[in-house]
């Protein structure tokens, strides 16, 4: 719908104008009484919330479709503004820990070291990868690109993989608690788990491989029993929960659209 402007001066004027309008709107919202703010927020929520389903349900390319890309750009711009707030939040919380020398201040120091060095290396990698360094040879990485690779692939990725791998140990401890047979349900869970786990290892299938495949006894072969459990018991139960949640989501979306959820009637205080 909107074409990029070729005239850079006009472009700058429009950007500055948009910023001024945004600031004026924000000031007006902040200085208006709570009930006005509430009505403005409810109105905007309703209109924007109504736009998406209407655009989708009116067949083919319609009069609302032209606004789809500008609206998604607007959402991205709004989200972009809040990234700054996230950084401010981190800096305030960790800065206070360091200034007040709380018991946890080493963690905050680690945050600042990580944050500043990653941002510094990231910017140089993107804009000036060979600043204060020799020009890279054929097939070589520039100094700051190599440094970025070390920070990202050598440090961040192994750290996140380490946290992910903790999951294996947590699954064992959670499974231990879940499988303690104290009720009929826990007993059934344990039996189902044994069948499915055994069916997924070679020794499990070997255990019942002597049962003939061409008679009713085939249902007692572990791989068949496990397949039956996962496709006939587990999958329908999961789908049932998903169905319920999907309808619940529809209801919740309607409540948000109509500003019926009290927690979203911002502007009360």
């Amino acid at each position: 719908m909107f074409e990029p402007l070729q005239n850079s001066t006009l472009n700058y004027i429009l950007v500055v104008g948009a910023l001024i309008v945004s600031v004026v709107v924000l000031i007006a919202l902040h200085s208006s009484p709570p009930y006005v703010r509430r009505w403005v927020i409810a109105g905007v929520t309703f209109l924007v919330g109504l736009y998406v389903p209407l655009e989708f349900y009116i067949p083919r390319h319609n009069f609302l479709t032209v606004w789809r890309d500008p609206l998604s750009d607007l959402v991205r711009v709004l989200a972009g503004f809040t990234i700054g707030l996230g950084i401010v939040n981190l800096v305030i919380v960790h800065g206070r820990h360091i200034l007040q020398r709380t018991a946890n201040f080493p963690f905050s120091l680690a945050f600042f070291v990580g944050f500043i060095s990653m941002a510094f290396v990231g910017f140089l990698h993107h804009y000036k990868p060979d600043l204060w360094a020799q020009k890279p040879g054929e097939g070589e990485l520039a100094f700051w690109s190599a440094a970025y690779k070390v920070f990202f692939e050598g440090l961040l990725l192994p750290l996140t993989s380490t946290v992910f791998s903790l999951l294996a140990f947590f699954i064992v401890s959670a499974a231990y608690r879940a499988f303690r047979i104290r009720t009929l349900e826990a007993g059934l869970l344990m039996a189902a788990a044994i069948i499915v786990m055994l069916a997924n290892v070679p020794v499990g299938t070997w255990l019942t491989s002597w049962l003939p495949q061409d008679s009713w006894l085939k249902w007692f072969r572990l791989e068949n029993a496990a397949l039956w459990l996962t496709t006939q018991i587990n999958a329908p139960a999961m789908r049932g929960i998903l169905f319920g949640a999907a309808v619940g989501g529809l209801g919740a979306a309607l409540r948000i659209l109509l500003s019926l959820e009290r927690s979203f009637s911002f502007g009360g205080q």
Binding site: A79, V163, V247, G249, G251, R255, L260, S263, Q269
Partner: protein, 255 residues
């Protein structure tokens, strides 16, 4: 698919469901008394807040990993109710978030909830913390916070992925009372195994109605239940009648 295909049943079905939920809201607004069954997990929220207050330790509310979507909106609404209870006892809630848009929303909702609860000064904006946008960096940040702050109660509401068990097991090891609710079907078993109380599936979207008992919210829950009965009947009827239906009807039903 760019737009809805009106040659199938789906758009009609969605608008029928919306109309039924709307009818529920209208009936409740007109004064019809509606009943909602007991949800023990939600009854336990007050107990968890009370316990944390007695122990003099903070609570933690994790609104999931997702950005701006319906489950997260619902999680923030639930956080508002928990904060209102916490304000009554002047207890502290720590809320780590993974999305900066949610950070601003959560701060506003909790600030207003503490004010409504009569303790605006008990709200500390620094307790709403943006940790990281990365899944496992966020998980490790939450685990660190739980251990350092020695939280007495954990609330996990929202969309979760693989980090759900890391968070819930850490809370379990700390001895915190834990209440979880998620529409993410793959994470439900993890929460059931590691938490004291779990709300699943559609119960997740009924929490605010259950907590506030507001007629309009109860009406939407009633409407949703009617929709589920309708959908289940439709599935059953079409499964049974599949052999006898003419091809154009089958095509319309997407079968």
């Amino acid at each position: 698919m760019e737009h809805a295909d009106w040659g199938t049943i789906y758009p009609y079905l969605v608008w029928t469901l919306v109309a039924i939920i709307g009818l529920g809201i209208a009936l409740a607004s007109a004064g019809k008394r509606l009943h909602i069954r007991r949800l023990p997990a939600i009854d336990a929220i007050e107990e968890a807040v009370g316990r944390a207050t007695e122990m003099g330790r903070p609570m933690m509310f994790v609104p999931g990993l997702a950005g701006v979507d319906v489950p997260t909106f619902q999680a923030i609404a639930i956080a508002g109710h928990v904060a209102r209870l916490a304000a009554r006892y002047r207890s502290r809630i720590i809320m780590p978030v993974t999305d900066t848009v949610i950070l601003t929303m959560a701060e506003q909702v909790l600030r207003e909830a503490y004010a409504e609860g009569g303790a605006p000064d008990a709200f500390n904006p620094e307790d709403i913390r943006f940790l990281s946008g990365d899944q496992f960096a966020f998980a490790s940040g939450v685990v660190g916070l739980m251990n350092r702050e020695r939280v007495a109660a954990n609330f996990f509401f929202g969309s979760f992925a693989a980090e759900s068990l890391i968070l819930a097991e850490t809370g379990q090891a700390l001895g915190a009372i834990q209440i979880a609710g998620t529409p993410s079907t793959l994470q439900i078993p993890f929460f059931i195994a590691a938490c004291d109380f779990t709300v699943i599936g559609e119960e997740y979207y009924a929490v605010t109605a259950y907590l506030t008992r507001e007629p309009i919210l109860l009406g939407s829950v009633w409407g949703q239940d009617v929709c589920r009965i309708l959908l289940a009947s439709l599935i059953f009827a079409t499964t049974v009648a599949q052999k006898f239906l003419p091809p154009f009807v089958l095509k319309f039903l997407g079968l």
